[in-house]
Amino acid sequence: MVDINQANRLFPDDRGRFGDFGGKFIPETLMAAVSELESAYTEAKENDDFQTRLANLLHSYAGRPTSLYLAENLTRACGGAKIYLKREDLAHTGAHKINNALGQALLAKRMGKNRIIAETGAGQHGVASATACAMLGLECIVYMGSEDVKRQSLNVFRMKLLEAEVIPVDSGTKTLKDAINEAIRDWVTNVETTHYLIGSVVGPHPYPVMVRDFQTAIGREARAQLLEIEGKLPDYVLACVGGGSNSIGMFYPFVPDEDVKLIGLEAGGEGVETGNHSATLSAGRPGVLHGAMSYLLQDEHGQVMETHSISAGLDYPGVGPEHSYLKASGRAEYRDVTDGQALDAFHLLCRTEGIIPALESSHAVSAAVDLAKTLTPDQVVLVCLSGRGDKDIDIVAQSSGLQI
């Protein structure tokens, strides 16, 4: 039996594996580029200039550290454990995605690659990439499923203002997974001049570990902030999981704290039993998509299934390999939250705290509310509020029968 805490410090191994998950399942044309990225990242990770520059940008440009907020009204409404929100919605561009976008864009520049491609679902990673590229003077092309272009028009306009080129993707299911396919096709074609700025802890090694490293600021800060305020660690840490970048960033620094329970919330859509959901870890089984072995929603023939979620950012049939590992090892637990439950939590947080959360983050808020009710006032639930909800107002209005 592998000791999870020790193992987590050792993983990924030199083949990019977290236990059975991860790896580099990619066309040969990309192997050299992925190896080059691995070397460049390994070097930059230990380089003081790079780390100082990134830390300065995260502080002065992106607004880190983000605050940790005790949601007293929400806590009172639940009548149980204290609920703390890690306010990634207050980071520049309105979500945690900027942490990784700045890190990778700086790295691309260091590698001499001035053309950046990115995929986006909800548009938050697209906006973060376009922002980082505008500031660092890089060309930016964002692939976005044509369905998502329709349901996230605000973010499409923001990307265009930032002078990124947004390319709608009409193939397959016209959502995030197809945007990733198209971005990989672009990368295969332009690999020598282009960096693929992946937005989550998915893809071939070294992406899952690199994106995790860029996102662990979330958990590191929250852990220190909570220790200072409460003088103790949380009992539970909750975060939503699509590809899984905000949740890995939040969980990772708590993995060695054995008494802290880690719970990831996936999109249950219309209910896992209906088949219309994106609950990969709850309802999928191991397979290979987009360069990594991980849990995958697939049919009996190994074809990747269509997914559904009210939140475009969670609407993805795969999940980061490290989450598959945390599930397999039992260190983290994964549950699902339906569209309806997420919407209720969205309205509750607006009403009680004056915070409009992203629909993605609302999944974590929903589970936190249910959990807090079952706990005592001396217990603490820490929630990653990964983004703000301005981008979602059309969907919320439509789902709630309201007019804008």
């Binding site: 066309p27 044309t29 192997m31 096709r185 697939q298 074809q303």
Partner: protein
Amino acid sequence: MGELRIRRMFEKVREQKRPGLIVFVTAGFPDMDATMELVPALVAAGADAVELGVPFSDPLAEGPVIQESSFKALQNGTSLEDCLDITEALRGQIPDTPLILMGYYNPIYNYGLIPFAQGCHQAGVDGLITVDLPGFESDHLVAECQSHEISTIPLLAPTSTDESIKASCAEASGFIYCISVTGVTGAREQVSGRSIELLDRVKSNTDLPLAVGFGISNRTHVEEVGNTADAAVVGSALIRVMLESPRKELVERTSRFVRELAGVTLPNQGVV
């Protein structure tokens, strides 16, 4: 049997001092019956070997033409099991022609590596090309294929490192598939000059025959490839003819195109 059939095919084209012609068709496109009719007809028209594309929901190395054929084949319900059944049914009709499955790893992984290798052996599959399984990750599958006499054919690209070429050649059998461009599949105006440099690097690591694919779309390209390699692979250009042909004329039009590619008749001016 697999390696033997492939070796004999390359020996034959070498003796005849001509480039071999390998054609790619997506299994189940435009429908399963069409695949059953097409493959023997294309062999009769001059194809030396056939790659049967196993459709996948996320074909991330394919250009728009093969994507479309793969999408339609999936709509027809074509599974990996069906591809094995098709191969088994074709085997009796074309006993000497190498039949090679080409696809993505997940359907194979889902099927189970051991049952898959057994199924290939039983169906008479000669070789396997797995697009998203570089040498680095392929140990288990290669071992299962070897024990069932299925050739595992690696893809190498202009961006491949010398280490990767060396490692892939060391565990390859059958032939080596050299990608002519850095890019996705799809017909192109010219054969990339970069393939020549790649072929030189691969030749210094193996005596196996070399095939060149991606972007080969007419007889001139096939002849060009013949100057430096053993065979040319034509996929997207052929699928495009299939996409443009009414079902009734499908076999006739695609056979005509393959005869052109094989140099059996003079190509029409301007037909690409």
